[in-house]
Chain length 334, copies 2
C-alpha cells in the first residue's frame, strides 16, 4: 500500500517554499500493538505550523528534518490493533500531512460524522474553536456591553471569537483584509463592524467604530495592527495574544509592540494563551458550542482546498490572508 | 516674599535641557479659603516627570507651558486658611518645583518628621514605596520560592521591590548599571544576585543566576533589558510594567519588546500599573512597610542633591542612572 507524504526537508528562512518539502511515496508500515491505520480525509492548515518548522524551544517540539510534517487531521480507521477503536471509526488526531498514518491510539479521539461534516472537527469543533472559546472567555474575560476587537477576524479562530463575543452581549469589531471578508463578518456573522486593514487606516477606523475604546483585543496577527489597537485600549483592557501571523515569516526580528506602554497608562494586561492547557475542559466547551450552532448563534465556515499535493501552496494562503474561515486540505483531489 | 520657581518653557525633544525651563522669581500670592502656604523642603525627582513634560493623553494631564513643573514634595506650613492644617505642620503633596507653594489643602497629607526623616516620605514611605508594594504584591503576585527579577534595581522603586520580594521568601536578582550599585544590592540589601547591564551580557547572566527561569519581572526600564528578560521567563510568569526609563528620552519610537511572543509560549502576562489606583490602601501598606523598616528588613536610601537651582541637571541623573536609591532635591543649598 502506497502512501504519499510531505516530509520537512529543510527549515525555511522567511516564507516556506516548495523546496522546503520532500513529497515522497512510501510503503505503509505494519501496525504495532495499540496502533491503528488511519486514512486521512482532511488536513488542518494552521498558522502555528510555521513555528513547528523552526528549530528551537517553543510550546511544542519542532518537526525534525526528514519527518512527516505535523498536522491535525480527521480520518477513518482502516485497520486496528486496539480493541477500543473499530475499523470504520472516524477519528481526530495528529496524523500529519500524508494519505495514510500508522499511529498510536493514545492521541486519537473519536468523532461523529452524523453530527457535523468531518472537516468541522478541525474548525469550530476543533482546536481553532477551543482556542477562541478559552482564549476569549478565560483570558479576555469579556463582559456584556464591552467592546471586543479581534484581528485575523475572518480566520478560523477570529470568526469564532467574534461570534462568541456577540453571544456574550459585547459590541464586536473585526479587523480583516479585504472588502469581501469585512462584508462577510458584518452581514453573515453579525459583527457590529469590520475594518479592512488593506484599504483603511486601522487607528482612525477603530476610533470611529469604538469611540469608547477597546476593552478586549484578541490578537492573531501582531505587527502594526497590534500597535494600532494598543493606542485605543480602555482602562483595564485585556489583550489576548493568540498569535502573530504577520511576523511568522520574518527574516528580521519580530516587530515588538512599540505602543506597549499604553498598558501602563491604562493598567491593562497582555497575556499569552496556548489552547492545550484547557484540554480537560474541551468536552464541556464543545457541548456548549454545539448548542450555539444548533440554535443558529454560531456559524461555521470552512475553506476547503482539494488534493494533498497542493499542501505547500495551500499553507501559504494563511500568510497571504487568502482563506475565509477555517482552511483545510482535503486529501483526495475530488 | 520672593519665590524661585522652575516653569516649563518648552516641551523637550529627547533629553530635556536647561533651555526647556524658565527659572524665575515671583511674588508669593495671597491665600484663598482652604489654602495654605507651604515652604517646600524636599522635591521628589521621578522618571514619570519626563512624561508629564510631553503633550498628549496619559494617566495624568501634561504640565502646561508656562506652569510650575509638577513634583511631589514635602514641606512645612507657614500660613493656613484651613483649620485642619496648622502653621508648623509638615505635609506631603504636589507643590511643584519651587521654594514656596500656595495650594489647596485637598491634596495634602500630614506627615510626622519624628518617625522618619522628611525626605523618606518621598521614597520608601511615599509614591515609590507604594508603587513597589502594590505593583509587586498585587500584580506580580510573587510566591515563596519563586524567582523575582527587577530592573532599575538600585532606584527608588527597585530597591523596595527587591527587599519586599525577599521578605516574601523569593529569590531576588536585580539588574542595575555599575559595579557599585550591584555590590550595594547584594551586600547591603540582601539581593541573591545582581547583574551589571553596563558590563555584563544580561541574557547570559540571567541564565546563570536564574537557571529555572524568571517567575516575576518588575520592569522599570524597558528596551533591551525587557527583551532579554522575556527570553528567560517561566510558564505563567508575571511581568509588571512600571516604567520604561530607557525609552523616555527617545526621539525615535519606543522600542517595543520583540520577544513578546514568549508571553504566548509561556502563557505569561504583562500588565501595567499606576500607583494612584491603590490610594485607598496606602495607609495599610505604609503601616506594614513601617513595621518592616523597624524590624530592619527594609532599608531606605535617599540620594540627596542640594539647591533648587540644580533641578535641571539633577533630573537628568535619573536617565543617566547616576542615583542610588531615591533621588531628591533639597530646596535649600545647605
Amino acid at each position: 500500500m502506497k502512501n504519499k507524504q510531505f516530509l520537512l526537508k529543510t527549515r525555511p528562512v522567511g516564507t516556506p517554499t516548495r523546496d522546503n518539502w520532500d513529497y515522497v511515496e512510501t510503503e505503509v508500515p505494519e501496525l504495532a500493538d495499540k496502533q491503528v491505520l488511519v486514512k486521512v480525509a482532511f488536513i488542518s492548515l494552521d498558522p502555528a505550523m510555521r513555528g513547528w518548522m523552526n528549530d528551537g524551544k517553543s510550546y511544542i517540539e519542532p518537526v525534525q528534518i526528514g519527518a512527516v510534517m505535523r498536522a491535525s487531521t480527521v480520518g477513518q480507521i482502516l485497520k486496528s490493533n486496539d480493541p477500543k477503536f473499530q475499523v470504520g471509526d472516524y477519528v481526530y488526531g495528529h496524523c500529519g500531512v500524508q494519505q495514510y498514518a500508522v499511529v498510536d491510539t493514545q492521541g486519537l479521539h473519536k468523532i461523529d460524522p452524523s453530527l457535523a461534516p468531518l472537516e468541522r472537527y478541525l474548525g469550530v469543533l476543533g482546536m481553532p474553536g477551543m482556542t477562541a472559546y478559552f482564549g476569549l472567555l478565560e483570558t479576555g474575560l469579556p463582559k456584556a456591553g464591552e467592546t471586543v476587537v479581534v484581528s485575523g477576524a475572518a480566520g478560523a479562530v477570529g470568526t469564532v471569537v467574534g461570534q462568541i463575543a456577540k453571544i456574550k452581549g459585547c459590541k464586536v469589531v473585526g479587523i480583516a483584509g479585504g472588502a469581501d471578508k469585512c462584508r462577510y463578518l458584518v452581514d453573515e456573522l453579525g459583527f457590529d463592524g469590520a475594518i479592512d486593514y488593506k484599504s483603511e487606516n486601522v487607528k482612525k477606523s477603530l476610533k470611529a467604530l469604538c469611540p469608547k475604546g477597546v476593552d478586549v483585543f484578541f490578537d492573531n496577527v501582531g505587527g502594526e495592527i497590534l500597535d494600532d489597537v494598543l493606542t485605543q485600549i480602555r482602562m483595564k483592557a485585556r489583550i489576548v495574544i493568540c498569535g502573530a501571523i504577520s511576523q511568522y515569516n520574518n527574516t528580521t526580528p519580530v516587530k515588538g509592540p512599540s505602543n506597549y506602554l499604553t498598558l501602563l497608562v491604562n493598567r491593562a494586561r497582555m497575556e499569552g494563551i496556548v489552547v492545550f492547557d484547557n484540554v480537560a475542559n474541551y468536552p464541556k466547551a464543545a457541548a456548549e458550542m454545539a448548542g450555539w450552532i444548533k440554535e443558529g448563534k454560531l456559524k461555521a465556515k470552512e475553506h476547503v482546498v482539494k488534493g494533498i499535493e497542493r499542501f505547500p501552496e495551500t499553507l501559504l494562503m494563511l500568510f497571504k490572508g487568502e482563506n475565509m474561515g477555517k482552511l483545510v486540505l482535503k486529501v483526495d483531489a475530488e
